[in-house]
């Protein structure tokens, strides 16, 4: 109970203190001639003006199991065409989803490291949606699929050589 009260007091105080911050408020006449301004400083007892409270999200989540066999579709540079050699991956995943309509898959699009983060996010989205389309063509219900993108934020390979970049241009089919 007292903790709750403290939390409320802190919250109220933060609002109050933040608006109290005024460093150059009251002009005061100074003997030396020019105006001097005074201020009480930023907050009464600490760095109120720059207070930051940390939020720690802890550990990440785990993926669930999917069908046996590969779950990654790779793409050419600047392309979102699902190549014929990955059709079997798409078909295998589609068969698994069709077998149980309660199964849901996340299609996670990724790009290589070249270019901006947000633009790459959009490119990865385009790849994920291409795989979603390929699966719905194979009879998977759209409601079982969610296409999302990680852009260039989660590379599978760390290098900047072409082999690493090629491993990063991909869509992973994940089950949660």
């Amino acid at each position: 109970m007292s903790r709750v009260l403290l939390a409320i007091a802190v919250a109220a105080c933060l609002a109050g203190c933040a608006s109290d911050v005024k460093l150059d408020s009251v002009p005061v006449e100074d003997k030396a001639g020019a105006a001097v301004t005074t201020g009480s400083g930023a907050g009464a007892g600490g760095a109120a003006a720059s207070a930051v409270t940390a939020v720690d999200l802890g550990k990440g989540g785990q993926d669930g199991a999917g069908p046996a066999g590969p779950n990654v579709v790779y793409f050419d540079y600047d392309s979102f065409v699902v190549k014929p050699e990955y059709q079997s991956v798409v078909e295998n995943q589609a068969r698994y989803l069709r077998a149980d309509l309660k199964r849901k898959a996340m299609l996670e699009g990724h790009t290589d490291e070249r270019g901006g983060r947000e633009y790459n996010l959009a490119l990865g989205q385009r790849r994920a949606e291409a795989v979603a389309r390929a699966m719905t063509l194979l009879g998977v219900s759209g409601g079982q699929l969610e296409a999302v993108s990680f852009g260039k934020e989660k590379p599978a390979a760390q290098g900047s050589d072409e082999a690493s970049l090629a491993k990063n241009r991909r869509v992973e089919v994940k089950y949660r």
């Binding site: 030396a32 720059s50 207070a51 939020v55 999200l57 070249r114 901006g116 947000e118």
Partner: protein, 431 residues
């Protein structure tokens, strides 16, 4: 209220952080260091005397002021070593003129019986023999750095006519191993504090116009979701968690609206929504990618990136949607627009011969200048006085943040101590 405030600040905030986040995360980042000084610059020579008493103060006030002023590119430091001066001194202005200083600042810091510090200073125009005034502050130790930045702001504004940005804040993201951390730091890179620590990526932080909240994209739910985060309290709320990807948040200048990119209707398209949440309204209807919206400072236009012409270029359209006109024409890859708060400049990143280079366009004339020598520039963000840009880049294989003047002549670098540093956003003037 005052009593409660005092109580609240007696909680050892740093200790709490340390407990929450562990020691390794608390490693401080180095200050922005001035690295490149251009030639042919007009810089005002100024002497900042050591503050009387700063040897006993936790912060070397004159050092913070000097570093701030140098990083702005507008000042050149004149050596004031060995001179014993404070705000009450009758400064020997002819002597300082002889030393080449056009202006001089001196002050003092005194510890008060209650543990707070009294900081005062005075600024002189050495050439005109004029007293340009001063300020007096009475602050806790934790605010000595803030006060130093405020003094630098005062000097900057008195001598250049432009508001200083030294007491503003920047947000950025670091990646160390699997840990992604969103930080809020002083504009000089010091006093970095953790806002969010996550096992998943964080991108695209954007300060609210009021400077109290950050909107950003977090992948903590293993998909991109947009949050609004009050940094003082740590309170976060989901702004956009629609089916598909949610990204690229941008505040309207009045803080009431957020533009963003959603894929909920297929493809990456622009939407606007109330900053407090609710149903998004679709702004664009293109078959391609539309993303990275930013509002013009008058709130009337949105600049954004679209590949509707076959390659990503920057466009502008009315903030309510409608006909978009193309803004960038050179090259085949122009992304990440930022508009200066005075509305005069567009900063963006252009791919040039395989390298990604920060560009600055004067909007009135369309003149474009590349202002960096680096090859992996990202995410430019303007200082609130429109005089500096902070951006991310790579330096010897390591990510770093840089600040630059708009002409590219003065740059400063902030390197992460370990791991990578990226996604800077320069906050507004503090109230």
């Amino acid at each position: 209220m005052k009593m409660i405030c005092t109580d609240r600040f007696s909680i050892p905030r740093r200790l709490l952080l340390g407990v929450l986040l562990g020691g390794s995360m608390m490693s401080a980042l180095a200050q922005f260091r001035v690295e490149i000084s251009g030639v042919g610059l007009t810089q005002m020579p100024i002497a900042i005397a050591g503050f009387r008493g700063e040897g006993q103060s936790p912060v070397k006030i004159s050092g913070v002021i000097q570093a701030d002023l140098e990083r702005s590119g507008r000042f050149k430091m004149v050596d004031a070593a060995g001179q014993s001066l404070d705000e009450g001194s009758r400064a020997d202005l002819p002597l300082w003129r002889q030393r080449g200083a056009d202006s001089l600042a001196a002050g003092s810091v005194t510890r008060l019986p209650d543990g707070r510090y009294d900081v005062r200073f005075r600024l002189w125009d050495v050439v005109r023999g004029q007293d340009l005034g001063g300020q007096v502050y009475s602050v806790p130790a934790g605010d000595l750095r803030l006060v130093s930045h405020k003094i630098a702001d005062y000097i900057h504004e008195k001598l250049t006519g432009d508001k200083g940005v030294f007491s503003t804040r920047i947000a950025y993201v670091t990646k160390s191993g699997r840990q992604h951390t969103l930080w809020v730091a002083d504009a000089d890179g010091e006093n970095a504090q953790v806002a969010l620590a996550s096992p998943e990526p964080i991108i695209s932080p954007a300060w609210s116009p009021g400077g109290d909240s950050l909107a950003y994209v977090s992948f903590e739910a293993r998909k991109p979701v947009v949050y609004v985060h009050d940094v003082a309290t740590g309170r976060r709320r989901l702004l956009a968690n629609f089916r598909g990807s949610n990204s690229a948040p941008a505040w309207s200048p009045d803080g009431r609206t957020v533009a963003l990119t959603l894929s909920r209707d297929g493809g990456s398209q622009l939407y606007v929504m109330d900053a407090s949440g609710g149903e998004p309204r679709r702004l664009t209807q293109s078959p391609g990618i539309d993303t990275e919206p930013v509002f013009s400072p008058d709130g009337r236009s949105i600049y954004f990136v679209s590949d509707r012409g076959g390659a990503p270029q920057i466009y502008r359209m009315p903030a309510s949607g409608g006909v978009a006109e193309r803004v960038t024409f050179a090259g085949t890859y122009n992304i990440s627009p930022a508009i200066s708060p005075d509305g005069r400049w567009l900063a963006y990143v252009s791919r040039v011969n395989g390298a990604f280079k920060l560009q600055v366009m004067e909007l009135a004339s369309g003149t474009v200048n590349a202002i960096t020598d680096t090859a992996a520039d990202e995410s430019p963000s303007f200082a609130p006085n429109s005089r500096l840009i902070v951006y991310a880049t790579q330096n010897q294989g390591r990510e770093a943040l840089m600040t630059t003047t708009l002409d590219g002549k003065i740059k400063a670098r902030l390197a992460g101590q370990d791991g990578d540093i990226r996604e800077p956003s320069w906050g507004p003037f503090q109230k």
